[in-house]
């Protein structure tokens, strides 16, 4: 069976046994999700590179020490938890916590709205981006977090539940409340968001 088709658990065991190529497969398989998740939190490419690198240094050190790898757990969830802890440590050291939404490099809302070059549509899109950004900021932290991980990092509810340490049902509930609250704010403020 080609290594690219082997499940994560087997690749990890092969890596612990000394097969370095298994690590390369794991990194390639999950790099996009891990990198995207980190970037969604820190919104800085250089910092994302550093945390991504540091995350895998910890993964490598833990596996090579044969300290811990729970066979029942998912490799990706485990790595994302490590990256999440590093992000928290970073912000704790900086004594600030922020989540930027739109930057010059990347705007999540550019993927939701129409990308037509029409100027009118572009102006409307910009206003929608601003309005949506302001609305999401008003959500409670746990609901905002689920929303961002779902749509920013393209994570499954199971993965979000593993990272946040709650059940899948709780995660689904938070998402439902997030959507409901968004609609309430939109109606209350009579914000027009054209489709």
């Amino acid at each position: 069976m080609a290594k690219t088709q082997l499940p994560d658990a087997i690749l990890v065991n092969n890596y612990i046994a000394g097969d370095e190529n298994s690590l390369a497969v794991l990194v390639e398989r999950h790099q996009s999700k891990i990198y995207g998740y980190i970037y969604s939190k820190v919104s800085d490419r250089d910092l994302t590179e550093d945390i991504f690198q540091e995350t895998f240094f910890k993964v490598i050190h833990t596996l090579k020490s044969k300290k811990f790898y729970n066979e029942e757990g998912k490799f990706l969830s485990w790595v994302l938890r490590i990256s999440n802890n590093l992000i928290v440590d970073k912000f704790r050291n900086d004594k600030k916590m922020y989540m930027k939404r739109d930057t010059e490099e990347f705007s999540i809302f550019s993927a939701i709205t129409d990308n037509s070059p029409n100027i009118e549509k572009e102006l409307i899109k910009k206003q929608v981006d601003i309005d949506l950004k302001n609305i999401i900021q008003r959500l409670p932290q746990d609901q905002k977090e689920v929303l961002m991980m779902r749509y920013y990092s393209d994570m499954s509810f199971k993965e979000i539940a593993d990272i946040t340490g709650v059940s899948v049902n709780t995660t689904l509930g938070r998402m439902r409340y997030a959507i409901t609250n968004l609609r309430k704010v939109i109606e209350k403020n009579q914000i027009y968001l054209p489709s």
Binding site: Y35, G36, E49, Q53, S195
Partner: protein, 47 residues
């Protein structure tokens, strides 16, 4: 308002680490050797 649910990936394809970062990670893995002596562990990085 349009539905917020979208089947399209919202993360651009270019959201990947640099090749240098990946190379460094794999090099670190190849170079790292952890030796246990009694209750102590020593990290050895081969040049």
């Amino acid at each position: 308002m349009a539905k917020l649910y979208s089947k399209r990936k919202l993360v651009p394809k270019e959201m990947l680490p640099k090749k240098e970062t990946l190379r460094l990670i794999l090099q670190y893995s190849r170079a790292l050797n952890i030796v246990k002596v009694g209750n102590l562990s020593f990290d050895i990085i081969a040049n």
